[in-house]
């Protein structure tokens, strides 16, 4: 991966009130590339899913740090990494299946599906007991 043209790092506590802030911060940064509102909303939605997972699954009742990196690369590529030091995922393949959720309640098990649906690339790295990283990539349309 080449060097980004511009990059920001954000560290947040896993309070659920920060979900909204994470969305705003990432999309405000990403907006330095010209794109449509739809594309901007896609990014917001995907980021919201990943951050919520770190809060809900990664840390659960504990409060920990969530690390977000957002880079802007050549050819209008936006790359966002969301990392936590939470509980990690045992079986990533299973976790990424649509409608799979390890938690009951109101979780639909659709977070990863939504991330896949609204970005161009999704990568998940995780180690049980260590934490999880999610990498989202989106190439937005170039307008003249």
């Amino acid at each position: 991966m080449l060097k980004p043209q511009n990059e920001m790092k954000l560290i947040l506590k896993s309070h659920s009130v920060n979900e909204g802030f994470a969305r705003v911060a990432v999309s405000a940064f990403a907006a330095q590339i010209d794109m449509t509102l739809e594309e901007l909303s896609d990014i917001k939605t995907a980021v919201s899913e990943a951050v919520t997972n770190s809060i809900v699954h990664g840390y659960g009742r504990k409060i920990g740090n969530i690390y977000i990196t957002c880079g802007i690369y050549d050819n209008n590529l936006i790359r966002i990494k969301i990392r936590d030091n939470g509980c990690g995922i045992e079986d990533i393949k299973k976790a990424m299946e649509p409608m799979y959720s390890s938690l009951g309640g109101d979780r639909a098990g659709l977070g990863f599906s939504v991330m896949e649906c609204f970005t161009d690339k999704l990568k998940v790295y995780s180690k049980p007991g260590k934490g999880t990283s999610v990498i989202l990539e989106k190439r937005v349309s170039i307008k003249c």
Binding site: L110, G111, V114
Partner: protein, 111 residues
């Protein structure tokens, strides 16, 4: 609370405003469930026409209310879903169990 609950004829209509994420979903869930058990309507309508953001927590909110209203022998109706929100809803196949109103074009367009 960004939620208005109204009785409209036989129907219980819950109109949601603003962002639906995991943070806001909890309060919405509690308020809607409280209204369901208080009014005991046969039909719960969830109106999304003033929702500004929604992720999969919104789908969870709907699925949970569906289970709940089913327990009362009732049914669920969704209204005012934008194309984008419809796309997210459809990942769950919710359109097969809930009636979706006022966005037929959106239901089709969201494949």
């Amino acid at each position: 609370m960004p939620l208005t609950v109204k009785k409209q004829g036989e129907k219980l209509v819950a109109s949601i405003r603003g962002d639906i994420d995991h943070h806001s979903a909890l309060a919405l869930r509690n308020a809607i469930d409280e209204a369901i058990s208080r009014f005991r309507s046969k039909t719960l309508v969830l109106d999304f026409s003033e929702v500004t953001f929604m992720d999969s927590s919104g789908v969870g909110l709907v699925l949970g209310r569906y289970r709940n209203i089913c327990a009362y022998g009732g049914e669920l109706e969704l209204r005012g879903l934008s194309l984008r929100h419809m796309k997210i809803m459809k990942l769950s196949g919710i359109e097969k169990i809930a009636k979706i109103k006022g966005g037929e074009e959106n239901v089709k367009a969201a494949k």
